[in-house]
Amino acid sequence: MFPEGFKIIRHLHHHESHKSPRTHTQSGTVKNVQTSDNRKIKVVRRVLDVNQQMAERNRQMFHENGVFVLNIMSSPGSGKTTTLEKTLERIMSNIKCAVIVGDICTTNDADRLARSGAPVVQINTDEFGGDCHLAAHVIEKAANGIDLEAIECLIVENVGNLVCPAEFDIGEDLRVVILSVTEGEDKPLKYPLMFRECDAAILNKIDLLPYLDYDSEAAVQNILQVHPGIPVFELSAKTEEGFKPWIQWLTAQVRSNRNH
């Protein structure tokens, strides 16, 4: 795009002249029309719009196959895999699930999750430059390895990171963030984008509360301050205390998708 009335004079460079003697003879006719400021060219494009378009394409593919997609995010070590293992144990008999799990290295999480009987696809992001998040094109590739017609719910365990995954839409229907009581109560305030972008939050490892000086009420208040009205599930993936409301809520979300 050019500003109106803007005239472009082609510049001839040395290497071009060598290749094409014809243009070389024109070089003397190049005029100097603008001498001062740089020429501004309007672009107005979102840097991540390629990811956004791919995410929309994924979303359409999942909807056409009647698959509900859940994106689970958290910092490393807050219990995504354990929560997912226990969740699969409880819902697999009602809802057919598959899992995509993202890590920079290793297949440890995939091995653990495969025991649930759900098909699991592991993504190691080191192939993609050790990425700190799963991007839409990576999900598209991983989804090719899953029989989408045979499942109702696809759960994506994102790379452990409270910053970057919040920025990348992967074509999911629902985003859940897990915070554990061994992290600071102020994590939601420090990483507001993640907590703003998610549809539900889990406060995990509540079985450890007797051993910690952790103010879980403050943690929940901080989550609600960043994202008023968001459902918060306080639970322990290890002991399964407080697990029932989470499973009920998740099941209802998948069912409402099924009825659409």
Partner: protein
């Protein structure tokens, strides 16, 4: 943490945006808008951009980053304000039903093509 990926996207979009009839143009400056809520560290992005721009028409170009504040509007009382702390409830009526108006940007606004006529005219 994904600044390198973003820097590479910026270089790609900027290169695509150079008009076809200016195939050998050199980009002197890229004007970028970055919202305060975007998960991007400007200093880190500038460093990555410098590396990603090497051997492209953007080599040596300046990455100008305009930081966009987080603005919100209350759905209940229509109050509009700038969010400077991580509190996403209405300042006036305390409602949690708010709309974020700005602060998520990561947009290339314009590119500036260097004027090199002087060096080409004999």
């Amino acid at each position: 943490m994904h600044e390198m990926g973003i820097a590479m996207q910026i270089v790609e979009i900027a290169t695509e945006s150079i008009p076809k009839d200016m195939a050998h143009a050199r980009v002197a400056r890229v004007n970028l808008k970055v919202g305060k809520l975007a998960a991007v560290v400007p200093e880190s992005l500038r460093f990555c951009f410098e590396v990603a721009a090497r051997e492209t028409p953007l080599a040596g170009a300046e990455l100008h980053i305009e930081e966009i504040p987080v603005e919100a509007r209350c759905n209940d009382c229509n109050h509009e304000w700038t969010i400077s702390e991580p509190v996403f409830t209405c300042q006036k009526c305390n409602s949690g039903a708010i709309k974020i108006l700005s602060g998520r940007e990561l947009d290339i606004e314009t590119i500036e093509i260097a004027d090199e006529d002087a060096t080409n005219v004999s």
